[in-house]
Symmetry: C2
Amino acid sequence: LKEEEILKTLNHLNQLTKPPGSLGRLEDLAKQLSGITEELIPDLSKKAVVVMAGDHGVCEEGVSAFPQEVTPQMVYNFLDGGAAINVLARQAGAEVFCVDIGVKEPLQHPNLISKKVKPGTNNMAKQAAMSKDEAIQAILVGVQVVEDLVEKGYSVIATGEMGIGNTTASAAILSALTEIDIEHAVGRGTGINDEQWKHKQRVIEQALQMNQPDRKDALDVLTKVGGLEIAGMVGVILGAAKFRVPVIIDGFISSSAALIAYNLCSTSVQYMIPSHLSQEQGHQFMLQEMGLTPMLYLDMRLGEGTGAALCFQLVDAALNIMSEMATFQSAGVSGANEEMTNS
Amino acid sequence: LKEEEILKTLNHLNQLTKPPGSLGRLEDLAKQLSGITEELIPDLSKKAVVVMAGDHGVCEEGVSAFPQEVTPQMVYNFLDGGAAINVLARQAGAEVFCVDIGVKEPLQHPNLISKKVKPGTNNMAKQAAMSKDEAIQAILVGVQVVEDLVEKGYSVIATGEMGIGNTTASAAILSALTEIDIEHAVGRGTGINDEQWKHKQRVIEQALQMNQPDRKDALDVLTKVGGLEIAGMVGVILGAAKFRVPVIIDGFISSSAALIAYNLCSTSVQYMIPSHLSQEQGHQFMLQEMGLTPMLYLDMRLGEGTGAALCFQLVDAALNIMSEMATFQSAGVSGANEEMTNS
């Protein structure tokens, strides 16, 4: 990021009528945004949520409480504006773009971005989820979607996804890329009971044993135990870094994509804005791995980009602080006694 | 709160196209809001931030990095719309109401709510901060402000404050009301260094020794080591409970008022919505004491109501979810396999 812009931003923040640093993470955000965009106060009013949808062959193993048909049903719900992400995006003044990158069923809708790489992944408990070529193709879909959005003037992007079974893939990615054991990596997804949770752990263990993904090769991990929508989000994140656009990372599944992106290209993390901490227990380890700290603690576990969408207002707040607050000088407010402070 | 409304809300939430409970704290908020207002989806569009301003005699002891003249200067900044709380309230569609409940200097401004009980508290290191009558009078100012706002149609209120020296009073309240030792109760306020922080602890210790506030009597604690703006916020919170209006509690100083209100009337906590966790280290203990968990973790330590203002959007989100989301039935989405879930 541009150090010079960051220093200019810090200098401006320290002139505003508040103790230096007292707006905490909002000030960090303001600095990050200007470092990314090379503007003191960028215009980030055109906001997009990209929802990548894909199915998971591992659903055959009975890892989710919801049937696989819910993936296409929810895609139509997104396109009709009735899902949680639509509500929260609308509130934030953001548009939802839904991409079919790997839904099993054929889908048709005028507003759907149809980029199906493959009709669902293979069952990773029995073989690799996809081929390396398919993984790369799905990443490139994500990069392309960002390029198209940037051309249309969108300036901040939130990641979202839909895919029954995708907490299983995300937990497998977390286990494969880090030292976290399976018991801590795996959560209850949409809400399975104890017995099903144990079963889900065994399925993931089997998938890892079968595929032997290479911890040092994030593309290999993505290929063998990932998902098409996860690969698409990897592309969205790398695309955001490429086009210097801030990208808000949603919860557990989005963060598994972020972790892949980070392992492929560590500087991509500088373009990421963490949003909420998911109730899915593995999420904290993903964020820790990348040195990211969430801002919203809402015990959410819905995905779709819902936590990220709530974060748009924090981005707006950081920018509004920069553009609207009075300075000590303009408001005639006295500063701190320097001898009493650390700064 | 009305159990019947809460159950109706839960029933509606469980029909929406998402796994039951997956929106976490937003669902809790929706339930709380309907329990408070006795409406399934209350209209909380008229939002108010009440900023109570007062001075602290204990500033004589040199506890703050900022001079006392900053209190009136910031009041004018609020009234002119240039402070952080103005920016964040504007973004949330909320109005800021600034109350002079105890600023030392005379203040005049057409938009100021002038309710001065006393021109600043006494130096609590030497005597009681105020008399019991003054404390009660200041509480009643807060109740009256809420009554006036409710009459004007405001339906959700955030607490805010301004008063150089008021983290000292708040830390004293925390120490006086709980078992927390002074070292953990006292923070760095607007940003004092190590030496000044130790000094601040000694001043608070002296104030507690001098005044011997009765732990079992929150009004006694407020009177002896509190502040006029803190008493005013106690009134705002009790008034919110009285008029069945949700009240969003800001950070450390607002929470010291909440803790007094809770000790005076424990059911008032049901009307409180916690917002952010302040960087001020004592804040977490106050919230724990009331069984409240913050939703925003932004390392903020500015006060004014800034953390509470950011929480308005979460209130909006909870209500928008209730009113705008499709149901499983309306969207034709399949439900969970009940045998696999806990619910």
